[in-house]
């Protein structure tokens, strides 16, 4: 993990304000901030590949229970009903809100899953030292996935729903909610640990097209 240290003195540009800067010698755990607008230009993260790989695997393991296990259930004098994220999406689809169903499916299930599988595939290929040219193409669009992942908002949504339901009926919390919180944690941590600069640097030197 010392590709970047040899290339200190390289010129970087801030993606936010276009200011040029000479990169100082960066060590693991340090980051470079733009002296003009204060944005983060790059961060050299510790054990980025290993940590991302572990978190992506963990996230993928809890993804299926998070989507298919019931998140919350309500009961009232003999009636009981519970629903998972998947049930919620199907319900919206049934009632003709197919646009919303599709949006909810994308933001809370599809995009997070693509993001985690992508992070897994990237780090696994780099760990096994078998990067393919297709990785570059994929990684080019990867940063868009982060801004359209809305797991954190959904978790808050579940909490707000609990508040709404608690005085209406007997509320029970399913295993799906625990799995979902874990999925959200893994997804956020993957964003934190993935070192874009390192991966681009690696791909540039190890992929020949």
């Amino acid at each position: 993990m010392s590709i970047l240290t040899e290339s200190s003195g390289q010129v970087l540009a801030c993606p936010r304000c276009d200011t040029l800067a000479y990169s100082p010698r960066v060590h693991e755990g340090q980051k470079v901030l733009c002296h003009c607008c204060g944005s983060k230009i790059m961060a050299f993260k510790q054990n980025s590949i290993e940590r991302t790989l572990a978190l992506a695997v963990a996230g993928l393991i809890v993804a299926l229970p998070a989507i298919f296990l019931p998140i919350i259930g309500v009961g009232f004098v003999g009636f009981y009903h519970q629903a998972s994220l998947f049930d919620s999406i199907l319900h919206l689809f049934d009632r003709g809100y197919w646009l919303i169903a599709f949006a909810v499916f994308l933001f809370t299930a599809a995009i997070p899953l693509i993001k985690l599988s992508g992070a897994f595939y990237l780090t696994w290929s780099i760990k096994r030292k078998r990067p393919k040219p297709a990785l570059m193409k994929f990684f080019r669009s990867y940063h868009h996935l982060d801004s359209w992942t809305m797991l954190h908002v959904f978790v808050l949504g579940v909490v707000v729903s609990m508040y709404k339901l608690v005085d209406m009926a007997d509320l029970s919390i399913g295993y799906g909610f625990a799995a979902f919180v874990f999925l959200q944690l893994c997804s956020t941590l993957v964003t934190v640990t993935l070192d874009h600069h390192y991966i681009w640097h690696y791909l540039e030197h190890h992929v020949d097209e």
Binding site: L12, A13, P15, R16, C17, D18, T19, L20, H35, C36, C37, I41, M42, I71, I72, G73, V74, G75, F76, F79, H81, Q82, A83, S88, I89, L90, H91, L92, R95, Y97, L99, I100, A103, V104, F107, T108, M136, K137, F139, R140, H143, S147, W148, M150, V153, F154, L156, G157, V158, V160, S161, Y163, K164, L165, M168, A169, H196, W200, L203, E204
Partner: protein, 208 residues
Amino acid sequence: MSSTARSSGLSICPRCHKLNPAVSGRHRCSRCHAYFYQRKPKSIEYTIAWTIAALVMFIPANMLPIMVVTTLGETEASTILEGIAKFITLGMYPVAVIVFIASFIVPLAKILGLVILVMGVREGEGLKSKQRTRLYFLVEFLGPWSMLDVFVVTLMAAVVKLGFLTSIEAGAGITYFTLMVIFTMFAAESFDPRLLWDNKYRIPNRNE
């Protein structure tokens, strides 16, 4: 004033952040082979268009009911603001505040922020450029939080199906609400924050 990539005849690739020699028109990144431009083309026009679209969606999103509750045969439809009012009457102030911020304040703040940013580009580089860049960070960060109410309704509609006692259905308002959130996110993505730092009075680039 420090030099920018543009004034040094360079362009930064928006995908992999590699510096490429600037050319006029379309660039092709030497590292990731993505096509890009030195500045997002027609960035301001797209930002304004998406912002107006979001503002238009904001009206039906708040006028139409987002949740329809049926209790013992009685149907009660409520809009976002009515839902918040109910929280207040029930005494659940923290939730009321969270929902009010996420579904009313945040969308308006995002739209207002985008308008301020678009106005800021006309002034070019100056003392306020740093604050405006921070504002752009904020607009980007706030992006998805307004989806909160849509997720709440989605989940409640699926969970609350207690026979004749009570059931909850989604209302037409959530379609417009979701569209509004997506449009503001598109608006933020269309905006190029580097335009806040470009000085119009300097010779912009040295393209051959």
